[in-house]
Symmetry: C2
Subunit: 186 residues, 2 copies
């Protein structure tokens, strides 16, 4: 995997990463992204452009790295009730966030990278959250889909619709979850 994975916290490498990520976020908040350049980012982060080129390669990879970091969840899916209810509530929120302008742009940035690190991070964050819900269901003895069923039949259709500009209706997420749960009935 990439050398930019897990720099030692507090070390020089981690400080550079934090400064460059912050600079990208600040610049993206105020500037049109077609005007963003590595020298501009470097100047604001108080590092040399060559530090950025050496570490990230090019602008596309840097934007993908920043987007992947922003997709890192801050906490586990909240507890609402049953594992199914937790799943419904968490996926609904996830779909809302990803379908927003910022969410779409983050997805696009992650997917435009040709190095596989950012897409892998993004997928792993998602899978870790689902694993938490699966573990809750196991603990409470609820029947629950496995990780592959959730990825293929709940997450994938949502992400496809967001990427390919298809509408996501109000009940769409619950219907997907109901469908994947159905096989446990009767």
């Amino acid at each position: 995997m990439s050398h930019r994975e897990n720099p030692r916290p507090g070390g020089r490498s981690a400080r550079v990463q934090a400064a460059v990520h912050q600079s990208v976020r600040d610049i993206l908040a105020t500037m049109d992204r077609t005007d963003v350049t590595i020298p501009l980012i470097a100047q604001r982060a108080n590092v040399t452009p060559s530090t950025i080129y050496r570490r990230w390669g090019d602008l596309q990879e840097l934007l993908a790295d920043v987007a992947a970091a922003r997709l890192r969840p801050e906490s586990e899916p909240p507890r609402i009730g049953s594992a199914r209810e937790d799943l419904e509530s968490w996926i609904e929120q996830y779909a809302d966030e990803m379908a927003s302008g910022v969410g779409r742009q983050m997805l696009r940035d992650v997917l435009s990278s040709t190095d596989g690190t950012s897409v892998e991070k993004c997928r792993c964050y998602m899978q870790q959250q689902l694993a938490v819900l699966i573990a809750r269901a196991e603990k409470s003895g609820e029947r629950f889909p496995d990780l592959e069923e959730l990825m293929d039949h709940v997450i994938s259709p949502i992400i496809y619709r967001i990427l390919f500009d298809c509408p996501i209706g109000e009940d769409y997420v619950r219907e997907l979850i109901a469908k994947v749960m159905q096989k446990f009935k009767g």
Copy 2:
């Protein structure tokens, strides 16, 4: 939608489009894409750079337009046997093509566009092919999934796996189709 949709065949606009698309394909076949620029494309297509900027806006949108055009199917899904067999064979081939290096790059190019034209084209091509299969099933009286079920539970998981670098096993496509067919059993 965009002004670059359906130029009159044989007209000047169609000739410019064909020359610029051909130039992009030629250049991408021989050059690293990070070195590709609009002036280079314009020179090879024998048009001015401003013609390209006026029509496509920027390099990203041009690459997306070329990728969408390459994703346009040349013919209907071949007839193998039942509509289900036609579907299996066509989707297997589609998944192979999309999972190849060229296929991934085309998907990435289409998705990196911020104007919705290219993703819409790409999705419509897919839906037209599926509609042909659905019509065949209707004609022969075969039970068959509808367009939404095929998009959500066959196409979406395949595209997600390709975009997020997950393995697609040898029997994966047939298993997805078997699952979406299951509801008609018993």
